[in-house]
Amino acid sequence: MDFWLSYATLAAIYVLLGLSTNLLVGIAGIFSVSQAAVFGVGAYIVAYLLMNEIMSFLPAMLVASAFCVALNVLITLPALRVSGDYFVVTSFGIQLLATAIFTNWTAGTGGANGLPGIPPADLFGKTLESSGQLVVLCLGAMALGCVAFWLIMRAPFGRLLRAIREDELAVAAAGKNVLRAKVSAAAMAGAFAGSAGGLYATFLSFIDPSSFDLDASILLLTMVVVGGARTLAGSIIGPFLLLALPQILTLIDIPTTIAAAARQLIYGVLLIAFMLFRPQGLAGEKL
């Protein structure tokens, strides 16, 4: 039973990440491999604030989300003003830089050994420690995220983003500020990723740089690609499916030294296969 609760909790957190990546990549069409970095920033901020008893859970989450919003805006704004391809370089750079900081800034992030002993989340005075409570918290957060996503996409903003994906030039010719729309999408993506990070930190009570590296960003991309771009269904299916993958793999006898490589290999194959044969993913719209 505990296993299923754990799976559901983690999946809920990754759905938030999936919504974030979907906003950025699926909807605004911005190629991003730095989502895991932002996820990590959110996690480390909440961990730091909770461990040093500076704030309780909800304010810490707000701070982390706000910071990640600002981070995403800072990353996308200058790069998008120049041209789409520059963003690829920026995104790779940010991700590698973030990994370097997470691994080497021992004072702030605990370095390669990470931060153990993160206190559990507390809500209105009650500490949430049991797996049952945690799954409710995370599924609740996931539900909130889904509602927000749905509202955004139904609104003119969603339509604007759809049009931008089709033909930026025509949208600009219709008098709309394309850059501001994309940066707004990136900002929202930051909020989702930052909150996911905070939840992750309190759920696992231990974080280290290996959860927030380039491989993790590739996993996030794979979730959106497999689940499907631009839809709520896709953002939910992708994470649930791909988090089940490692469990399925344990049924096959793979030596532990190459288990990680085997997983990443499968993600790579999935990316290629879906782009070639099913760009809309399982439940999404064509990328």
């Binding site: 041209s83 940010i94 590698l96 830089l97 490589a261 290999l265 790579g268 782009m275 070639l276």
Partner: protein, 288 residues
């Protein structure tokens, strides 16, 4: 003096990086695709050569075989993946994702077969000191890297400006639509360009690991630095990419005097930010 040694090391690294930058630029300016899987080809070359040399094959033969296989792989990626996606009018985002997937596949197949740990070549001649004036030491392999990289740069310049394929490539790069309707067969040119770029990038791909060792995930950071060199040098300028790569490598190395090595990616990224904010077209942008 330490600074001088760092400068020498930087020259070797910079030249190798320069070849990565130039070959990446070749592909980017012709196909307009951000071929991130280039890092995978770069990595593959080294492992292929290692496999052969550890089985007793003479280094020069192993080198040639690695180059040939990399050329074939690069051409295949273009012909069977990118071209297929382009025929279906896939967006650049889709092709980018496919390229990233290819990179992940290549790196992780290597990690699965060869283990994720660092492997070393056992070529004693490589680390023999060639020049040593006082406290400066240059090894054979470092000199070889510089020589081979300069030769590669010269070769690509000659190719781009003097051969028919090179001129076709530049024509396709400057006006793909015109190229299409004047029967220049851009798709075929793309395959050739990828083959050449992949072959040439495997030169540092083999030589650098002889000096520094092999690791499956070591291709991404050099590729990132190389793309920044390409942008800072001006997209379309082969010389610009090469020169800037050396400049960045030297700056990275000299920064070691002030900050620890793990942060050198910060230097590279900082340079990128400066260019993006103040001079996005680069220093030697091609006329347009």
């Amino acid at each position: 003096m330490l600074a001088l040694q760092l400068l020498c090391n930087g020259l070797a690294t910079g030249c190798a990086l320069g070849v990565v930058a130039v070959t990446f630029s070749l592909v980017y300016s012709t196909t307009k695709l951000f071929h991130v899987a280039h890092a995978g080809v770069f990595t593959l070359g080294g492992y292929l050569a290692w496999s052969l040399t550890t089985r007793g094959v003479p280094f020069i033969v192993a080198f040639a075989v690695a180059v040939a296989i990399c050329a074939a792989i690069g051409a295949s990626i273009q012909a069977w993946l990118y071209a297929r996606l382009e025929r279906r009018h896939a967006t650049h985002l889709v092709i980018l994702i496919a390229s990233l997937g290819t990179l992940a596949v290549m790196q992780n197949i290597i990690a699965a077969i060869y283990s994720p740990n660092i492997l070393q070549f056992s070529l004693p001649w490589a680390s023999e000191v060639v020049a040593g004036g006082g406290s400066i030491r240059l090894t054979v392999i470092q000199v070889l890297i510089v020589a081979a990289s300069l030769a590669a740069y010269g070769g690509l310049m000659w190719f781009a400006h003097r051969t028919i394929l090179g001129k076709q490539m530049r024509a396709v790069a400057s006006n793909p639509f015109l190229a299409e309707i004047t029967r220049l067969r851009p798709r075929r040119v793309h395959v050739h360009v990828m083959a050449i770029a992949s072959a040439v990038v495997s030169i540092p791909g083999v030589l650098v690991p002889v000096d520094l060792g092999l690791q499956p995930y070591n291709g991404v950071t050099p590729l990132l630095t190389a793309t920044i060199a390409m942008i800072a040098g001006g997209v379309g300028s082969i010389t610009g990419a090469f020169v800037l790569a050396i400049a960045i490598a030297e700056l990275q190395n000299l920064s070691l005097l002030l900050i620890p090595g793990e942060w050198s990616i910060g230097i590279t990224f900082f340079i990128f930010l400066i260019f993006m904010l103040f001079r996005p077209t680069g220093l030697f942008a091609a006329a347009r």
